[in-house]
Every structure is written in structure tokens, then in C-alpha cells.
């Protein structure tokens, strides 16, 4: 059938090319971009749990670390940092806490997604402990203080004096998959 009608063959091939390119844009480009950003450190995404040995503290230098929070538009919790900013020496561990309260009348599960500005500082903000590594269940009306332990890698580019760590809180009650967790 296909061989007998060359027009049909051309059309099928062209259609296939079109559908492939749509799939490429929707399902390949975003993950590819993520991988690219992870390799180059662009895009402001932080790494996972830091497990290696902590570097030496650089007493000479002071870096300001700011904390901001955002709620995803579908997320009704109260969510804010208990400390707005700290000044740290690179290499020195710090613990800060974030406050969350589930003001709704149902039990919910949340997931926080971190992001760092400027982008070239992202790979130098290391977290040894973070609530964003896990999902956060809160019963209706419950509240919690959620800790982050982090340090700034002394290799942070000298041009960076202020680093902003941002968390966005998502409602993941309805989805049991760990897909979101895997990306933090």
C-alpha cells in the first residue's frame, strides 16, 4: 500500500517528523535543559544532600545569605523563614528554620523546591540537612519548624557577596510519586 502510493509515503514521513519535533520540544528539551544546567551549574538549582567532608572555614570572607519563600498558587499553607538573612564565613555550617502551618481543615503533604540566585552561586550552597529532601506532612491546623543546615563552599566566586536561597512550597497531597523529590 505504502509503496504503491509515493505521496502517502511522503506525507507519513513528514507527519512523523512533525510529531517527533513536538515530542522533542515537550518531553526532551526541558529535561535536557535540566541536565545541561546541572552540569554547568546554570539555572540556580542546588545539589542534593552534601555528604563529603566539610572544607576549612575562610575567616577572612563574609557572605550574606538571604531566605525567601513562595507558595505555589495552589498551596494554602502559611510558609515563611524564621530568619530573613544571616552573615556567614564560607565553610562554616549554619542552621536556619522555616515555619509552616497548615491552616486548612484537611491533612496535607507539602514539598519544597529550592532555588538559588545568582545562578553561579547555586553549586556552592551546600546543604547537609534540609526539609526539602523529604515531603512534609502536616495534619489539619498543625504547624512545624523545618530546619536547613547549610554552608557556603569557600570556592564561591569572589564576585558573589550575597546569595539568596528561595523555597517554593507545593501541595503534593494527591500525588504519592516521588518525582518531585527526585528533582530537588
Amino acid at each position: 500500500m505504502v509503496a504503491k502510493n509515493p505521496v502517502r509515503k511522503t506525507v507519513l514521513w513528514s507527519l512523523l517528523a512533525g510529531v517527533t519535533m513536538f515530542g522533542f520540544a515537550m518531553f526532551v528539551m526541558p529535561p535536557l535543559y535540566d541536565v545541561f544546567c546541572e552540569i554547568t551549574g546554570l539555572g540556580g538549582k542546588t545539589g542534593g544532600r552534601y555528604a563529603a567532608e566539610q572544607p576549612e572555614v575562610d575567616q577572612e570572607r563574609v557572605v550574606k545569605v538571604q531566605f525567601v519563600t513562595t507558595n505555589n498558587s495552589a498551596m494554602p499553607w502559611e510558609f515563611r523563614p524564621l530568619t530573613d538573612a544571616v552573615r556567614v564565613h564560607p565553610g562554616e555550617s549554619h542552621k536556619v528554620e522555616f515555619y509552616a502551618r497548615n491552616g486548612t481543615e484537611r491533612d496535607m503533604v507539602a514539598q519544597a523546591i529550592p532555588s538559588v540566585t545568582p545562578a553561579n552561586a547555586a553549586q556552592y550552597l551546600q546543604k547537609t540537612q534540609c526539609f526539602c529532601f523529604d515531603q512534609q506532612p502536616l495534619k489539619a491546623g498543625a504547624e512545624a519548624n523545618m530546619p536547613v543546615v547549610f554552608f557556603i563552599d569557600p570556592a564561591l566566586p569572589p564576585s558573589v557577596n550575597t546569595v539568596t536561597l528561595s523555597y517554593t512550597l507545593f501541595d503534593v497531597t494527591d500525588r504519592q510519586s516521588a518525582a518531585v523529590t527526585a528533582r530537588n
Partner: protein, 517 residues
């Protein structure tokens, strides 16, 4: 021939004849051209003097956005599809397009797509106001609620383009007259074959980009939302992966038109035919690997900036080959300057100027200064207006005697050309100065030091707009009252199969394939 066209409106609604569909594409694109032009007049009227006079800034943003969208997707792309419908079957000796009913569908969904888009202007919240490049998060988080109409409009327009391209590829690859090898095809057919491949490759990417926007806006995903683990810069990459090939989709068929008109009026065969084919293919290939030169300021690593800078400059090589070939075709030719040739010569000169400013913009460190300034506006209007629009205007004057069997009025054509040419340069040349002096684009107001050149530019724009009404008059006057002609070869120097059929071209041509020497 077996039968003529059907009677009444059914001829157009159920059209499967490539000439009828081509005619509808041409009229539709002209209507969109006037609409987009009207938006441009509003923009230039507001920018006539500093300060806010006529419209509100929010509406100004809608005007710049809609002007860009309508001109790119509604005027320039369909006009070349219309020319392809009319001319490609006649140029390659085919009886019609390969898929006539698909052809009907790809035309008739266009009015619906543009109605969706244009209707947003009358809805609460107003039309799209985020620029024709619709960068996220302007087009997602901060978009007016009508953005969903914009998204579906783009989906429909994209589907139309993809179907049209599949049709053109199927026609060119399968319906050529026996003996017409690919390397014997007219350049216009070649350029459209390459353009159609580009369209099939990148229109789905545009559809993907707007689909991701749709999901971000309505279904809680975060493709382009940094707060949700996405990245707005990803939008720019996806958009320009579509957008850079898109600018060649717009200009490559114009190259084909030039390669038809310049040899005719120089009375010489096209110089360097095969190098033209390879240069066009090279431009098409390079268009896929240079997209990030639109984004030099997003914070790319140095290696990225350098790569995109050099790759972009490489495009000047095949483009230079084409310009060289056109000039060499004219060299020592017995040139006469009928209206199509005037537009063609203006194309070569002005498109080259636009190409040189493109080279300036390709220099990454310089682009950091020029980006988002009026210099960019001047650059792309030199290639879009003096490139794509001048060439499609030339094409209409060149082929309208064949379409209608009537000759246009040469004096009126020349008046149209000279007013257009002068007004175009008065409009856009000063915008180079404005941009270099630091005037940013897309603002409803500007500082006082930019006042004089903006007034000059606005006066030029009004004259250019008026000259297009003259074009409309010329076309209608030709159809209604033009001098009747019957010579199949309308122009003395014209070569090609389309000049072997009677004038005016009958409803059906090449029902039996012609013999190719």
C-alpha cells in the same frame, strides 16, 4: 479542459484547485497585512511626539504584540504559501497540489486562528501584551486572562502551516513532470522545499512551547516557573529554537522570488544555480544551531557566547553567496526596470543593509549594548519589510499578468515603488540612530532627545502605510480594468514552465505533464 470553476461561494468554501486556494491565501494575507499595518500606524502615531497622547501604555503593549504576531504569522507566512500554491504546480508541471483537500483545510482554519487572536482585543483584560516573542513569565504568570485564546490561535496557525508544508513537500517530491530532476527545478520551488522542511521541524516546537505555557497557566506545572523548579530561560531557548529558523522560513521563499525575477529582467540565466541551492540548504541548516544569539544577555557561559557568535557570523557566508549571485546575474545584463525589477533591486540593496546590521548584532559584546533597542527594530524591519514584503510585492507585480490575463499600470506600479522605497527608508533608517543613541524598544514613551528622529520615522510610516493602499488600488484596478494580454510569455526574458501555459492561466494546467528537455 474538462470543466471550469464551480459557481458562487461554494467555489471558495470547497476549493480544491491550487489557483483558487492560492488566491484566497494572497487576499487573506493582504487583509492581515492591512490589519497589522493599522496597528503599526497606531504605534507610530503614539510615538510621533514624546509623552502619552492617543492611547494608554497597556494598549500600546497590545498593539506592538499584535502587530508582530499578525505580520509574521498572518501576513508574511501566508503570502508565500499563497505564491507557492499558485506557482509551484505550474513551475514543476504538476496538475495541482498533491493533497487538494488538505490544502483547503489548511487555508480555511487560518481565519479561525486569527479571529481567536484578534478577538482578544475586545475581551476583558485586553489582547496579548507581552511582545510577539511572548517570554515567560510575562506570558504565563503575568499574562492577561485572554492568553488562552492566544495559545489556541497559535496552535491553529501552526497546524495550518504544518499541513501546508506537508502538501508542498508531497507535491515537489512526487508530482514533478517527467524529466524534471530536482536540480532542474526553478529556485522558487527549491527554496519552498527547504522552507517546508524548516516549517515541519520547528512549528511543532512552537506548538510545544505554547502547550507548556498552557499547562503552566492552567494545570499547575512549572516548566517556566523558577519558583516551581522550572526556568523562564528554558522558554527563551525553546522559543528561539523555533524562532530563528522561523526568520529563515520568512526570508527563504523571498530568495526564491528574487531568483525568478532578477534573471527575467536582466535577460540572463540565474548565475550559479547550484551554488544557490547549496547556499539555501546551508542557511537552513545553520538556522538550527544559532538560536541563542537572541539571548546573549541571559547569562550564558563565555564559551556559549563565543560559539553562538561565530556560528551566527558563519551565516553571512552562504547569504553572501546568494547576494553575489544576484548581482552577477545583473552584471552586463540587458536590464529593464519594470516594477517587479525595481522592487527586486531594492530588495538586494536593503536586505544586504539588514544583513550587515545583523552581523553587528551577532557580535556578542556589541549586542549587549544593542539588545532590545531600536537598532534591533531597524535591523529586522530591513529584512522583514524590505526583504520579505518587497519580494512578495515584486512577486505580485511579476505574476499578476499571468494570473489575471491583464497588465498592471506600469506608471502606477512605479509610483507605488518609489513611495514605498522612500517612505520605508525614512521610517526605518532613523531607527538605527535612535537605537544606537539608546532608545529601548516596546515602550509607549521616550526621552526628549529622541523626539526628532521619532517624528521623522512616524511621518515615513504614515507615507509607507498610505503607499500600501496604492498597492491595493493597483491590484484591483488591474483585475477590473487592466489592459488585456494573451502572450503566454508575459515578460520578454521570462523562462520556465509557468510561462508556457496560456495567459490568463486556465483553471486547470498540465493535466498531461509537459515534456522537459
Amino acid at each position: 479542459m474538462a470543466h471550469g470553476p464551480a459557481k458562487g461561494i461554494g467555489r471558495w468554501l470547497r476549493a480544491t484547485n491550487h489557483k483558487d486556494i492560492g488566491t484566497m491565501y494572497l487576499w487573506f494575507s493582504f487583509a492581515m497585512f492591512l490589519l497589522g499595518g493599522a496597528f503599526a500606524m497606531v504605534i507610530r502615531a503614539e510615538l510621533f511626539e514624546p509623552g502619552m497622547q492617543i492611547i494608554k501604555p497597556e494598549f500600546f503593549n497590545q498593539m506592538t504584540t499584535m502587530h508582530g504576531l499578525i505580520m509574521v504569522f498572518g501576513a508574511i507566512m501566508p503570502v508565500f504559501v499563497g505564491l507557492a500554491n499558485w506557482m509551484i504546480p505550474m513551475m514543476i508541471g504538476a496538475p495541482d497540489m498533491a493533497l487538494p483537500r488538505l490544502n483547503n483545510l489548511s487555508f480555511w482554519i487560518l481565519p479561525f486562528g486569527f479571529s481567536l487572536l484578534a478577538a482578544t482585543l475586545f475581551m476583558p483584560g485586553g489582547g496579548p501584551n507581552f511582545g510577539w516573542t511572548f517570554y515567560a513569565p510575562l506570558s504565563t504568570t503575568y499574562a492577561p486572562p485572554t492568553v488562552n485564546f492566544f495559545i489556541f490561535g497559535i496552535h491553529i496557525i501552526g497546524a495550518s502551516s504544518i499541513m501546508g508544508s506537508i502538501n508542498i513537500i508531497a507535491t515537489i517530491l512526487n508530482l514533478r513532470a517527467p524529466g524534471m530532476t530536482l536540480m532542474k527545478m526553478p529556485m522558487f520551488a527549491w527554496t519552498w522545499l527547504i522552507t517546508a522542511f524548516l516549517l515541519i521541524a520547528v512549528m511543532p516546537v512552537l506548538a510545544g512551547a505554547v502547550t507548556m505555557m498552557l499547562m503552566d497557566i492552567n494545570f499547575g506545572t512549572s516548566f517556566f516557573n523558577a519558583a516551581g523548579g522550572g526556568d523562564p530561560v528554558l522558554f527563551q531557548h525553546v522559543f528561539w529554537f523555533f524562532g530563528h529558523p522561523e526568520v529563515y522560513i520568512i526570508i527563504i521563499p523571498a530568495f526564491g522570488v528574487m531568483s525568478a525575477i532578477i534573471p527575467t529582467f536582466s535577460r540572463k540565466p540565474l548565475f550559479g544555480y547550484s551554488s544557490m541551492v547549496y547556499a539555501t540548504a546551508a542557511i537552513a541548516f545553520l538556522s538550527f544551531i544559532v538560536w541563542a544569539h537572541h539571548m546573549f544577555t541571559v547569562g550564558m557561559p563565555l564559551a556559549g557566547e563565543l560559539y553562538f557568535m561565530y556560528a551566527t557570523m558563519l551565516i553571512a557566508v552562504p547569504t553572501g553567496v546568494k547576494v553575489f549571485n544576484w548581482i552577477t546575474t545583473m552584471f552586463r545584463g540587458a536590464i529593464t526596470y519594470e516594477t517587479p525589477m525595481l522592487f527586486a533591486v531594492a530588495f538586494v540593496i536593503l536586505f544586504t543593509i539588514g544583513g550587515f546590521t545583523g552581523l553587528m548584532l551577532a557580535i556578542a559584546p556589541a549586542d549587549i549594548q544593542y539588545q532590545d533597542s531600536y537598532f534591533v527594530v531597524a535591523h529586522f524591519h530591513y529584512v522583514m519589510v524590505a526583504g520579505a514584503l518587497f519580494s512578495s510585492t515584486a512577486a505580485v507585480y511579476y505574476w499578476i499578468p499571468k494570473w489575471t490575463g491583464r497588465m498592471y499600470n506600469e506608471t502606477m506600479g512605479k509610483v507605488h515603488f518609489w513611495v514605498s522605497f522612500v517612505a520605508f527608508n525614512v521610517t526605518f533608517f532613523p531607527q538605527h540612530f535612535l537605537g544606537l543613541a539608546g532608545m529601548p524598544r516596546r515602550y509607549a514613551d521616550y526621552s526628549l532627545q529622541f523626539a526628532d528622529w521619532n517624528m521623522v520615522s512616524s511621518i515615513g510610516a504614515f507615507a509607507y502605510g498610505a503607499s500600501q493602499l496604492l498597492f491595493l488600488y493597483n491590484v484591483i484596478a488591474t483585475i477590473v480594468a487592466g489592459r488585456k494580454i494573451s502572450d503566454p510569455k508575459v515578460w520578454e526574458g521570462a523562462e520556465g514552465l509557468e510561462w508556457t501555459v496560456p495567459t490568463p492561466a486556465p483553471h486547470h494546467t498540465f493535466s498531461t505533464p509537459p515534456a522537459i528537455k
